[in-house]
Amino acid sequence: MKKRGRVTALLLSALMLTGLLAGCGSNNSNEAGSSEQASNKAAESGVSKSVRIYVDGNRAKDSNFLNVVEAFKKDKGIGVELNVIPGDAVEIFKKIDIDLGAQDGSTDLLLLSTPIQLDKYVRSGALLPLNDLIEEDKYDAKAIYGDYLQESDGKIYSLPAGAGKWAVYYNKKIFDDANVPYPSGSWTWDQYVETAKKLTDSSKKIYGSYMLDYDAYMYFTARQKDVSGYKEDGTSNFDDPAFKEALQFFGDLGNVHKVQPSWMEFKTKKLAWDGFMSGKYGMHVIGTWYTNMFLDKENYPRDWQFGITELPTPADGKGNNNLTVINGVAINAYSKQPKEAFEFAKYFAENNYKYTGDLPARIDLTDEDINEMFQKIVDRIDGEVTIEDLNKAMYQNDLGFSDEKIVGPAAAEYSNIILQESELYLIGQKSLDDTVKTIKERVDQAIKAEQQ
């Protein structure tokens, strides 16, 4: 009885498979036909003005981003379709790379979050040069974006849509408990370390400072002094003493001053990128995008208030820059409707900041514009910080700006090499001099390999 049941089941599945294979053949042609039709339709509706843009799942749900899109549709009468790619902001580019590599032009626009990404796509010819469109349109990009506008061999491949900066966020409760006055801006890293020491209380497992494992932390003060990652001859400049000092400074925070988790602690305990929100750290040096974290009280409930102040500067007085990461909007080289795509690029670059909380990459804004922008943030966080706090920390202070990322030949590899090799210094496996030397050697090799 049982056996017969089993055989029947097997026969049944065999039958289903034959049906399946047969159905599969005919289905296939149907499928192909319908998908062709669909893409034809898309192309047609493209002619009647609709642009397509790659976004990650998070952005596709972000009401601030959707508001920019809606405003664009209304103002310009051009439709916008989102090509939503699953995964985080890094992962989605794996898939985008495959599309772009296959010269697929069905999605017109890309949002690039760092200049390294931009550089990569420019080098591989995946982006449309915008110069002709700018000229045709008589668009005075230079007057709007100033130095934020990035050029590569005289060609413009993207419009800057935001200029992220760095700031220090602090936990007022920890300052109050330790009886330390809040930082008032305009300070040096020495003062930062002193303050962090006063806040650190190992009995309560509280550290005065918190930093993450991004490449930028390894060379922070060097870039504040605007020391370039490349020499004149195109090789790595990592043997410049400024890089060595910068790495040592970062290592000392955890290993010598012990004001923040050491690298070993950070890695083995898998400390989180949003660790500051746990309330166990006095100050956090991080990009200004972090302000959004304090708006999310559901995911990050807290019984303390935060403050924000400007980035400290190197104590030797050789540089007082804030670091900036420019994100931009670019057009697929194989886009079938570059004009409409350019309309979106312009609109997004000019207006993004009004909606999403990204700092604008514009030089033509008035004080009122900027106040208005900060007012929106202050309203959203119920006045935990003031317009003046934000303005002073992020905008109107004495700091200049230099690029956070080291952009040039083999940039992505450069960044990974810095992380891999610095780690060995930070956990005490390699001397500082050897580390810096290896980084230079490996990067030089990578640059050479790329040029071949």
């Binding site: 056996k3 055989v7 498979l17 399946l20 985080d88 400390l271 974290m293 995911n299 990050y300």
Partner: protein, 284 residues
Amino acid sequence: MGSLLLSKKRETGFKPSTIIISIIVFVLGLMMIVPFLFMISAALKPNALIFSEPLKFIPDQIYWNNFKTIFHHEYFFKWYGNSIYIVVLTVIARFVVVTMAAYAFARLNFPFKEAIFFLFISTMMIPADTTVIARYMLYKSLHLYNTEWALIIPATFDVFFIFLLRQFFSGLPKEISEAAVVDGCSQFKIYYRIILPLAVPALVTMLLFTFIWTWNDFVNPFIFISSIDKQVVTVGLEYFQQQAGTDYGLQMAGACIIVIIPIILFAFSQKYFVEGIASSGVKG
């Protein structure tokens, strides 16, 4: 539920050593599910608490938002349905194609058998990542790209389980088929009436893991499916990713939702791994 207390019916009385082993195995089991408990507990916490108190398995206040966010996504149930549909078709198609080929390799003689088999096995040795671009172009030209068939058809032709089943089929006594041939049975009859029923534990293993691997597959649907409504649940959950970093609470809630079906299958498949099936099969 009766089977929970094992096949005690057959045995008259038990040894004290059975009790000791029962306790040891149960404790071992408890230790093994710690990460699983962690998954559940992290799914029920706001992000801020996942890392600050990782070992507190029962949060002070249960936080349902992670699950709510997932269930409220317009496509969530569609993704889950797509996953089930794709997995079931893959399991069936693979079962038929693979068991037939394995039967031939294990029990029939034909020209170039060893060479063909080794060629099959050798294709397992190239990392799948290296062939992604080739497969992308192939599926596009066959119009499989962005259809469920891009996941089902290639997965049907699985070398791994041919190898597994070949080993099991060739372990069965030769005499059985010889006798059947003398009785005038066709090879197809021997295959499905004699060999398959005798290899049930191996077949269950294949079905179980085909299900789990296809169910958990991320890379293939990520690359070869591009419409949000055609996506499967593992990739679908990635639409919830944060820009700045991972939202661990959401990710763990997603993992809990994904893992339910494989665990149920694990539990149900256990009854096929009971001593003596094969021998009683031979006798019967």
